[in-house]
Structure formats: structure tokens, C-alpha cells
């Protein structure tokens, strides 16, 4: 990847809080005009990374650049071209949504007032807050605050939009609206965002990075991630002594993990295999020889959620 095409690049970016290493040597590459999903379980270091990028936290070691500028020394310059939605957006309660947007816009634009008013109105319309624009934020629901958060992040038409859980607190309609907004913005901006909603990631993102326990586990395009994990999943429904069979099956070198669940007296296994040929030849026989009755057996189409869980599980082994 050409470094000139990168909006964000970090070099061994690390952050510790006392004995806790929240982020360990993160090397991230976010290309221009991409929708970049930054994924990981709770406490993986996603929000810490965002705060480091914004200059709200300082790195313990390592560093990074945004638009080629240093995230520690040029933080204010960097923020002049960024829009940011915090995980739990908080604004001044006495202000209305319109006042909040104008206040935000005024950090970037000195005027003219008519243009600022026009931009504020565009943003209100963009997030569907027309009916509530002149009410104090004090009475806003979580979803309305989230919508306002998206509007204030976009009010300066930033080159880079950093969104921490943009679809949190939103109903399905709101979630769809956010994805639409992201798709529209991608024409002129890079979007770096964290989320737990993997369906959304698969729908709109180009690139994905997964962090776990403060470490970057993988970074790839969605296509690469779905195709290139090397794992194939078999979905099987079994009955019998699943506990002893589980140990026996999981011992095979070509099996990377089994996810088990139970419902209605039946046990469902998602068996991840690293060698598809071995699985084709041996898996069914192995299940039967373990004393299990197999009522369903088949190869499962992978989605991002499967990939994500596999990657996280493997990184924890």
C-alpha cells in the first residue's frame, strides 16, 4: 500500500494504563476514501485507539500519522479535518440540536452566517431531526442524541470521519439511515468506524481490521477476509454423548474449533476445519464412530460473523 494513499498510519502505537496494556504495537493502515471497520470484542482497545488518534490520549510508545501529520504534535491541525462521533455522545444539555450544530460548525467556519445556517439545516435533514431541531437536548432519547452525534461529526464535511459505534442506540430504520449516510459520504471522505454489528460491516465496509486484547489480529479487505481465512465451517446436528465425542473430534489436527449450542434435545456444532479434503473424508465417519447420531451435516457458507469469531478464538488460543 502506497503511504501517500494512507489517511491513517500507525507505527507500533501502544498505550498502557498502569499494568494494563490496552494497546500493543498497533500498526494500522487506513487507505483514502475507504470505509474502514475497526472490530474487536469489548475491551479490545478500539476506543483507546480512536482517542489516541484524536489526541485525547497520549501514546505510551510508538506513534502515528493522519493526513501525514503527527497525531501527538499536530493534533489540532488534524482535528480541523476530522469529524468524530463518540461512543456515548454528550452535548451541552441547555443547547438545542440546531445550536449544537452551529456551535460545532463555528469551530471550523468563521462565516458567512447564511452558509453556516444552510449547512446546519442540511445536517438536520440528513439525520432526520427536523421536528426536534429547536428543542433542548435535555429531552432527547439515546437514538436522537446518536443522530445529532452523526450530524455534528459531518457538519464540517470532514476528510476523515471517525465513528465509535455509529449505529448504537438506533432502531432498525435509524441503522439503515446511518449506513446510507456512510455510503453517501464515502465519495469524498474516509470513514474509520467501530461497531459490533457485523452485518453492517459486511454491507458497507471495504477494509476490516480486527483487534483483540490490544493487538491487531488481522487487517484485510472484506473479500480477502471472507475468502482467505483458510477455514471452512461444517454445520452438524447430532444426538448422543456429545461431551466425549467433542473431545475426540476436537483432537484432530485439521479441526481449528467447534462452537456448540443446544436446542430441543439436539446439539448443534459449527466445526471449523483447516483442511477441507480431510474433513470431507473423515468428519462424518468420525462423528458416527464417536457414537453420535447425525441428523444434519453440511458445509456452511461463511459470513463475517463466523470469520470474526474464528479469528478471535484463534487469537486467544
Amino acid at each position: 500500500m502506497n503511504s501517500n494513499n494512507l489517511v491513517i498510519s500507525t507505527e507500533n502505537l501502544s498505550r498502557s494504563f498502569g499494568e494494563v496494556h490496552a494497546l500493543k504495537s498497533l500498526n494500522l493502515r487506513v487507505p483514502q476514501k475507504s470505509i474502514f471497520a475497526f472490530l474487536g470484542p469489548n475491551g479490545a482497545g478500539k476506543t483507546t485507539t480512536i482517542k489516541l488518534l484524536l489526541g485525547l490520549l497520549k501514546p505510551t510508545s510508538g506513534g502515528g500519522k493522519i493526513f501525514g501529520k503527527d497525531i501527538v504534535h499536530d493534533s489540532v491541525d488534524i482535528r480541523a479535518n476530522i469529524g468524530y462521533l463518540p461512543q456515548d455522545p454528550r452535548f451541552y444539555e441547555h443547547m438545542t440540536a440546531r445550536q449544537t450544530l452551529e456551535y460545532t460548525a463555528r469551530f471550523f467556519y468563521a462565516g458567512p452566517q447564511a452558509e453556516i445556517d444552510k449547512r446546519v439545516n442540511e445536517m438536520i435533514e440528513l439525520v432526520g431531526l427536523e421536528g426536534k431541531a429547536d428543542r433542548p437536548i435535555k429531552g432527547f432519547s439515546g437514538g436522537e442524541r446518536q443522530r445529532l452525534g452523526i450530524a455534528q461529526a459531518e457538519v464540517n464535511h470532514p476528510d476523515l470521519l471517525i465513528l465509535d459505534e455509529p449505529a448504537a442506540n438506533l432502531d432498525p430504520q435509524g441503522r439503515r439511515d446511518v449506513l446510507d449516510v456512510m455510503s453517501r459520504i464515502r465519495k469524498y471522505a474516509t470513514i474509520f468506524y467501530c461497531t459490533h454489528i457485523l452485518d453492517d460491516v459486511q454491507r458497507v465496509s471495504d477494509q476490516v481490521a480486527i483487534v483483540n486484547q490490544g493487538e491487531l489480529v488481522t487487517q484485510a479487505s472484506i473479500e480477502e477476509l471472507l475468502a482467505g481465512t483458510g477455514d471452512v465451517i461444517y454445520s452438524v446436528t447430532v444426538r448422543g454423548d456429545t461431551q466425549s465425542a467433542y473431545t475426540q473430534v476436537n483432537r484432530q489436527p485439521w479441526i481449528s474449533g467447534i462452537q456448540a449450542s443446544q436446542e430441543g434435545g439436539q446439539t448443534y456444532w459449527q466445526v471449523s476445519v483447516t483442511d477441507e479434503a480431510a474433513a470431507e473424508d473423515q468428519l462424518m465417519g468420525l462423528l458416527v464412530s464417536s457414537g453420535l447420531k447425525v441428523s444434519n451435516f453440511g458445509r456452511k457458507a461463511q459470513n463475517l460473523e463466523d470469520v470474526f469469531i474464528n479469528i478471535i478464538e484463534r487469537s486467544q488460543k
Partner: protein, 272 residues
């Protein structure tokens, strides 16, 4: 730059530590003066300072009719305009930085092109103007006319009274700067309010025990812990009496500068 930023927009051009200052000042100004906040404070301080001083003027007039001395007028002003306002400042200012740190609005604002120094300066400037206006200047001017029109003291020297108001304002500013600094040092309002309160009482009680304390504390600017022997600076300026010592004034200015410097330095190192 973004392709779709329309041409007519004029970018903010503040440089250095002033990045974002104009908008931050405007935001704080709106919070005070484009809401009911300023006149509520004005009414409160009018009631406390001018209401109480009105009663003092009345009591003095009544006492004079009976051939007695009235209550010590300037001592009482030192109490209401000095001590009461200092405690008022501690209450009003306690959440100025801490509240924003805890609610997350500070982190939100600091995610914009804003320096941390500008953030602290904006809170200091606008809160100081609002507090000084509502609790020192307006009640002080009303007091000047009340004394001139209704008390036996008559019209005091305008220059002396203005000097006295400046001294009271400096005393108030000392507590504003101290509480602001505490807001950058602590993460809870209790710490922010407890330390200045403890310090006030330590100055008051300690003045009798440690003679030098009176010269480095701001107390003597408005309020004398030993009114029989020492007059406050404000009282001396109002009456035209010789000033006991200018040292408390100088030390108060020095401490204000230290508090502001510490607040800015500390806030610049803080993480959100």
C-alpha cells in the same frame, strides 16, 4: 481538503494556543447571558449584598436616632461582598471543569480544532466576567448610590470606592482561579469545593495564630479577621483611611497567576 466544501465558507483563522478560543468564548457567553442564568445570579447577589446592606443602612439610621453607633458598615460589606461571594464562587464554579470532564462534553469539544489552553481560558474569562458583574460590580454600584442617598456616610469618594470594588473583584477572582485550578486537579466536585473552603477557614482561623498569614492570604482584601485593629483594604479605600499593607494585594495577584498557570499546565496534560 474535501471536494464538497463550498467556496463561500471562511475558515477559522486562529493560530497557536488561541485555536478555537473565539467559539469557546461565544459558547460560554451564550450559556451565561443568552439564558436566565445571569439575571438569576444578579437577583441572588442583589438580595444578599444589597438587601443585607440596606438593612444595615436602616439599622444605622435607627441606632443614630437613639444616639448609638450602628453596625460596622464596611465590615458587613466585607462579610457579604467578600466571604459570601467567595463561598458563592466555590458553589457556582465547582462543576465548571470537573462537570465537563465527567459528562464527556470536554472530550467532545476537545475532539474539535481547539487547544486545551483555549478551553481553560474561555472558562476562566467568561465565568469571571459573569461572576464579577453579577456579584461585585452591579451590587457595588447599587451600594455606592444606596450609601450616598440613604446613609449618614453620604457620598464616598468615587475613586476610593472604585478602587475598593477593584480590590473586592480581585478577591473574588482569586477564588475563581483557585476553584478552576482545582477542577483541573480533581475528578470530583467534592474535592473542588472542599479544598477552597478549607483554605478559606484556614486563612481566617490561622490569621490569629500565624501572624504572617494575613499578608499572603486574600482575606484582608475584603474582610478583616481582627476588625478592631486592622481594616480591610476595601474598607480603607472606601473611607480614605491609610491602607494597613499592600502585601495581601500583591500576593493575591501572584497566586492568581500561579493558579491559572497550574490549571493550564495540568489541563494540557490531562487525558480524556
Amino acid at each position: 481538503m474535501s471536494a464538497n466544501v463550498s467556496v463561500p465558507f471562511k475558515r477559522v483563522e486562529e493560530k497557536g494556543w488561541r485555536r478555537g478560543l473565539g467559539n469557546l468564548l461565544q459558547g460560554e457567553y451564550s450559556a451565561w447571558f443568552k439564558s436566565s442564568r445571569w439575571w438569576k445570579h444578579l437577583i441572588l447577589w442583589f438580595a444578599i449584598i444589597n438587601g443585607m446592606m440596606g438593612m444595615m443602612i436602616y439599622a444605622t439610621a435607627q441606632a443614630a436616632k437613639d444616639g448609638n453607633d450602628g453596625p460596622p458598615m464596611f465590615f458587613m460589606y466585607g462579610l457579604f461582598g467578600g466571604m459570601f461571594v467567595a463561598f458563592g464562587v466555590m458553589i457556582i464554579m465547582q462543576r465548571v471543569i470537573v462537570g465537563e470532564k465527567r459528562s464527556g462534553t470536554a472530550a467532545w469539544v476537545l475532539s474539535k480544532p481547539v487547544t486545551r489552553t483555549a478551553f481553560v481560558v474561555s472558562r476562566l474569562v467568561v465565568n469571571s466576567i459573569a461572576i464579577l458583574l453579577t456579584s461585585v460590580i452591579v451590587p457595588g454600584v447599587i451600594l455606592y448610590f444606596s450609601l450616598g442617598l440613604f446613609s449618614s456616610l453620604g457620598w464616598l469618594s468615587r475613586v476610593g470606592f472604585a478602587g475598593a470594588l477593584l480590590v473586592v473583584a480581585l478577591h473574588t477572582f482569586y477564588w475563581i482561579a483557585l476553584v478552576l485550578m482545582m477542577g483541573t486537579l480533581f475528578d470530583s466536585s467534592s474535592g473542588v469545593i472542599a479544598v477552597p473552603m478549607a483554605l478559606y477557614f484556614a486563612f481566617w482561623m490561622g490569621s490569629g495564630l500565624i501572624p504572617g498569614l494575613i499578608y499572603i492570604s486574600p482575606l484582608l482584601l475584603t474582610f478583616s479577621p481582627d476588625p478592631d485593629h486592622i481594616s480591610s483594604l476595601a474598607a480603607s479605600l472606601m473611607t480614605g483611611d491609610p491602607v494597613f499593607s499592600w502585601l495581601p494585594l500583591i500576593s493575591t495577584i501572584v497566586f492568581c497567576v500561579i493558579f491559572i498557570a497550574v490549571a493550564i499546565r495540568r489541563f494540557n496534560r490531562q487525558e480524556f
